[in-house]
């Protein structure tokens, strides 16, 4: 059984993130599963970056704290992370740069391997940006991976550059590889030898999944203002806009962003925006506008620790109740919180359908952990996932030929009114931020007001009857303890469950709102003992469940340091609880 955690750390600006990506792809191409999580400060240079990659034969749901191999491209990496090394672990560090006597050895049997990175660079007149390739070469030999895969990856990555650059990078990797081959031939005990049969896997981030989902869903307008951790959705979609024929607009502020998206949506385009808490706060008034004008829009809301600017490059699940309650007045909205990369793709596709069907804002609630983390996913899972585009009650010119006296806000049983678009033949209509009559004209008349509120609210009832999904139970039904969690917490919890299936199971919520009270109450009542695990300080899902079901969760494990949970921390709590 292979289960290997590798951490690589160094100064910002030296391609630490790329190293993590390469490692994940090497694992996937060698037939393994992998998960990667990067941590970095909100600085462009000079800060400390570290990326953690976990590789295993079976499913890998999250990173782990305990590390097999620690590659230190600076002294800080050793100082900050050497205590995480497993007994029998290995730290690679350039001891020409750091006095080995100064390196405090952590407990256990740790091997310190000297690799003269600086000297290799100097002797071969390589640029310092090649440091990460030397490190990759070192790793390839340590874990007995196929160097050819790395060479191939380098070739693909620099395909647009000239051959000299490709050769230099390949050479740098070989220097690292050969150094270890000569000086530490046995390498590390766990090996990543290439498997005989290899399932094709993507190694992909949550944000890329959102982008891919938007493209597959026929989104043709993505409008955003950069904000970590959602900026890379913008970057990905902008880079693909020629191929996808999507218009990708970086507008002047988030207020503009959401209003442009609503304008485009009114004119018939599937529209989306992505932001984080602060940017979303600016959008809130227009989300309420989407509520009353009954405008489809998809919002990818990437959480990071707040309040205010908070900790921009770190992670948290602190905005659930903010999003749920955001927007003045009462109107339906739909909240989806995927738990892993595959779910992120599927729920993005679904978000566009739900927005069109219910003509209201739909949120994909994610966080930095899921957005910037990478995970391997079998390609067939994405390819086979066919979700037909469903535009709900969108009318065509042909439909309109048979409709006289069209009313945009027609009172209907399911609360959803047929939708015409501006520019369609033979019909003029009005959408209105003021309360309105069925035909869209402004009204303050009490019966009309009540009718429209009821109509909009009926969309919630329709959703609950037709589209709401219950939380999913992972693990053994009869386990003594049930962990209650939502969104990205799925990964670390499932990881903790591996080998501990008898101890606990997980009740995971992805469809957060609207939430059906009766069945969820029953599910919670049937749990023997419950433990809430959330990446925030107030247990927001717990509060939501109390609101919907009246049931309190027995115990809580909350973390709000800006770091995601390690499976180890969850197991520790479970030991305490049981």
């Amino acid at each position: 059984m292979t289960d290997l955690t590798i951490k690589i750390g160094g100064a910002a600006g030296f391609g630490i993130m790329t190293t993590g990506l390469f490692l994940g792809k090497i694992a996937a191409r060698s037939g393994y599963e992998a998960f990667e999580y990067p941590e970095y400060p909100s600085l462009i240079r000079g800060g400390h970056n570290v990326v953690s990659v976990r590789i295993a034969d079976g499913k890998v749901f999250s990173q782990e704290k305990k590390t097999d191999i620690l590659i230190c491209l600076n002294e800080g990496t050793y100082r900050l992370h050497s205590s995480e090394l497993k007994d029998g672990g290995l730290a690679v560090i350039d001891q020409d740069k750091v006095d080995p006597k100064k390196l405090e050895k952590p407990a256990g049997n740790i091997t310190l391997l000297h690799v003269p990175f600086a000297k290799i660079l100097k002797d071969n007149s390589l640029s310092p940006v090649m440091l990460n390739n030397i490190a990759l070469g070192v790793l390839m030999h340590l874990v007995g991976a196929d160097l050819e895969i790395l060479n191939q990856l380098i070739t693909e990555t620099f395909a647009r550059k000239n051959k000299e650059i490709i050769d230099k990078n390949i050479q740098a990797a070989r220097f690292g590889f050969e150094y270890v081959q000569k000086n530490f031939p046995a390498g590390y005990k766990t090996k990543l030898s290439k498997k005989a049969s290899i399932e094709k896997r993507l190694f992909i981030s949550g944000n890329e999944m959102i982008g891919l989902g938007a493209i597959a869903a026929g989104c043709k307008f993505y409008c955003a203002y950069p904000m970590t951790p959602s900026s890379t959705i913008l970057h990905y979609l902008a880079a693909k806009s020629e191929k996808s024929q999507m218009v990708v607009k970086h507008a002047e502020d988030e207020i503009s962003v959401i209003n442009m998206a609503l304008g485009a949506s009114w004119a018939g385009v599937r529209s989306m925006t992505g932001t984080s808490g602060g940017g979303y706060a600016l959008m809130v008034e227009a989300v309420s506008l989407a509520g009353i004008t009954e405008m489809p829009v998809v919002i990818a809301m990437g959480q990071r620790p707040g309040p205010a600017t908070g900790m921009p490059t770190w992670t948290e699940q602190g905005d659930l109740l903010f999003i749920l309650h955001s927007g003045h007045g009462e109107f339906p909205k739909i909240l989806l919180a995927p738990g892993d990369m595959e779910e992120t793709y599927r729920l993005t596709l679904e978000a566009f359908n739900l927005a069109d069907i219910y003509q209201t804002p739909v949120f994909i609630l994610v966080d930095k952990y899921l957005q910037e983390g990478h995970q391997s996913v079998e390609e067939f899972r994405i390819k086979n996932l066919e979700l037909k585009i469903n535009r709900g009650k969108l009318l065509s010119d042909k439909d309109l030929q048979n409709i006289t006296n069209y009313k945009r806000y027609q009172i209907t049983d399911d609360g959803i009114s047929p939708r015409a678009l501006p520019g369609m033949k033979n019909v003029l209509h009005q959408v209105n931020s003021y309360e309105h009559l069925e035909d869209g004209h402004t009204t303050e008349e009490e019966n009309e007001r009540t009718k429209q509120v009821d109509k909009r609210n009926r969309k919630t009832a329709t959703f609950l009857a037709k589209n709401a999904k219950l939380p999913v139970l992972y693990g053994k039904k009869e386990a003594a303890l049930t962990i209650i969690a939502w969104g990205s917490m799925k990964g670390p919890i499932l990881q903790a469950m591996q080998g501990n299936e008898d101890k606990f199971n997980l009740l995971h919520f992805t469809y957060l709102w609207p939430m059906p009270s009766e069945p969820v109450t029953k599910i919670l009542k049937d749990c023997r003992k419950t433990l809430l695990v959330e990446n925030n300080s107030t247990g927001q899902l717990g509060q939501l469940l109390k609101m919907v079901t009246g049931i309190g969760i027995d115990d809580r494990l909350l973390k709000y340091s800006g770091r995601p949970f390690y499976p180890e921390e969850i197991l520790e709590k479970i030991k305490e609880t049981l």
Binding site: K25, F203, K220, K240, N259, M260, G263, A286, Q430, T442
Partner: protein
């Protein structure tokens, strides 16, 4: 279907300058023979924005200050539509000032019609960004300290390609300005002096009549940026009305390769996933 753009009879105060603007807009659309189905009008919130119920086209009554980005989104999604914004001075120069700047920079092909009454009408008469210095209002009982914003100079320096100033008391002249603005391909601002008979006792019809003069081929060259700036700076004794500036430049949507095949709202939604997945393997 309604083909003359008229809607409910307006609820504006009798004598309000908005009537003149309303009439001019209807005339302009009729003269231009724009089929109402091809016209999208976005309204801000204010007395001005209330025109949504009095004018019949494809209407989007948006938020206070946000009609401009809404219009930009509509134009990108369906660039075959003529897109007009009806906004107040508080709406467009105060709450939504940032959007005006950036829509001008982008040369988005929308026509922004601003009802400049130098007050907030709908919220009962506070100062607007164009209020004359010292103007006393409910929110500035001692007189406004700030100097008035100069919409024409602002639009000019930010890249607008059509800038006109009109007067609600000169309806047929104003009709021509709005027609030309809608016809113009690119960002158009029409700033309209609009007497508010209820809350602005200072800038009345008479006050304007004493000051406005028409720009024509004799006294102005709208193709000349420097000359346009000179006109933009005439904000006190004499107030120019007419086309202050006009220049042809590619619009925002002209620059979008995604629209060269047709309207975005009619694009094929299917995507070949194969083309995107390979880079992640």
């Amino acid at each position: 279907m309604n083909n003359n753009f008229s809607g409910y009879f307006p609820t504006w105060c009798p004598g309000c300058g908005n009537f003149g603007i309303w009439g001019a807009l209807k005339n302009a659309c009729q003269n231009q023979k724009i089929p109402p189905v091809n016209l999208a009008v976005v309204y801000g919130v204010g007395c001005s924005g209330n025109m949504n119920d009095f004018f019949t086209a494809n209407n989007f009554h948006s938020l206070h200050g946000r009609s401009v980005p809404t219009a930009v989104g509509i134009k990108i999604a369906n660039h075959k539509l003529s897109v007009v914004v009806i906004a107040g001075d508080g709406d467009c120069y105060g709450e939504g000032g940032n959007h005006l700047i950036h829509a001008a920079r982008g040369n988005h092909d929308i026509t922004v019609i601003v009802h400049d009454n130098r007050v907030y009408g709908l919220t009962t008469g506070q100062v607007a960004p164009t209020a004359l210095k010292g103007f006393k209002s409910k929110s500035t009982p001692a007189g406004i300290i700030e100097v008035p914003l100069n919409p024409i100079a602002l639009a000019l320096t930010q890249g607008a390609t059509y800038i006109a100033q009109g007067f609600a008391g000169e309806v047929s002249h104003l009709t021509g300005l709005i027609e030309a603005a809608i016809r113009h391909e690119g960002f158009s601002l029409v700033n309209i002096f609009q007497p508010c008979v209820t809350f602005n006792p200072l800038t009345t019809y008479d006050w304007y009549r004493q000051r406005v003069y028409k720009l024509d081929g004799e006294n102005h060259d709208p193709g000349n940026f420097q000359k346009a700036m000179e006109k933009a700076l005439e904000t006190e004794e004499k107030l120019p009305i007419g086309i202050v500036y006009q220049v042809e430049k590619p619009t925002y949507t002209d620059n979008l390769p995604q629209l060269q095949k047709g309207v975005l709202a009619e694009a094929d939604l299917t995507a070949d996933l194969e083309k995107y997945i390979e880079e992640f393997v």
